[in-house]
Amino acid sequence: MRPSLAGMTTGWVARLLRRACGRFLFGAVALYLMLLSLPALAVMPAERLTDPALEARARTLSQELRCLVCQNQSIDDSNADLAHDLRVLVRERLSAGDSDAQVLAYLTSRYGDYVLLRPPVEPATYLLWFGPPALLLVGGLVIVAGWRRRAATNAAAATPPLSADERRRLAEMMDEGG
């Protein structure tokens, strides 16, 4: 709905702007409208808090929380009923004066760490967090070690320069040939 509306507006604004202003402004406005049309919000207007600071915190928190019905969406993205309930709950807790950490604790005490889209760093998740960087590091070390070794063998195997005697004999051979 929103993208197509924005697209129509872009077309209309385009004609107007092309005449009035330069290409740069046209591009900037087109880009602005395009970005404006991107988020298809699941958050209903009725859910939003009137206090913009609280609402901003609620949005940030919602993006960190997993919708348990459609597991790989955040509750901020999801249209599921439970996601709606949890969004309302997050806003209620914030309005009641909870800190961000308290809201997350409230939900993890009921749904476990699974409700967090970013798993906490703890012994059970060390492998998850540090495995890939460790793999990259060790792999990189192996590659560097390989390069160094090859450079060393190449240097060792490089032909030593001709001695004075050899140069003289080479010159003789060249003279004979010529």
Binding site: L68, D81, T108, Y111, G112
Partner: protein, 176 residues
């Protein structure tokens, strides 16, 4: 030493791959309940029609089954005959929480299919369900005599779920 350095990435990769592979085999819908072995949350819900509602206090003192259901929930109908059978046997106290539902719809369902519940609480807002950690109906919780949550069944209870998981637990908890 050099050789070890060459084998190490392969080993690390194997460990990581194994870890992720095991993760793949786990069914993401079977999440462990964060509420296990914790006391059931406090709640007091109104009933349907004349029937009394359900509160936390009603669950104390005996082993109970708390079943979240709704009239709009198709899988709930799958487990309904089993619930009726349990109610008929009378060994455990079966309580229902009607999740995000109109009480009149739930009442109609229970007239149609029979009412297996000792008491029913209507959770129109779904707040009690969130406190239990429910993310969809049906879900069933086994509570011990102290009112602690000991088991959670996600989705309808099949006969094998009941015989294999729930019944042994009920015996262990001393349900009479």
């Amino acid at each position: 030493m050099r050789r070890l350095l060459y084998v190490l990435p392969i080993l690390l990769f194997a460990v990581l791959a194994g870890y992720f592979f095991l993760g793949l085999k786990r069914d993401p819908s079977l999440l462990p309940s964060a509420m296990l072995d914790k006391p059931a949350p406090d709640f007091a819900l109104p009933g349907i029609g004349e029937k009394p509602g359900l509160a936390r206090a009603d669950l104390a003192g005996r082993v109970t089954l708390v079943n979240f259901f709704a009239s709009w929930c198709a899988p709930c109908r799958v487990e309904h005959p089993l619930l009726m059978r349990l109610a008929g046997e009378g060994r455990i106290a079966l309580y229902g929480i009607d999740y995000k539902d109109k009480p009149e719809d739930a009442a109609r369902l229970l007239v149609q299919l029979g009412d297996p519940y000792k008491r029913i609480g209507v959770d129109r807002e779904g707040r009690t369900a969130i406190d239990f950690g429910v993310y969809g109906v049906p879900e069933t919780y086994v509570l011990d005599k102290e009112g602690r949550i000991r088991f959670r069944q996600v989705g309808p209870i099949s006969a094998s779920d009941y015989d294999g998981k729930i019944l042994p637990l009920l015996k262990q908890l001393g349900a009479s």
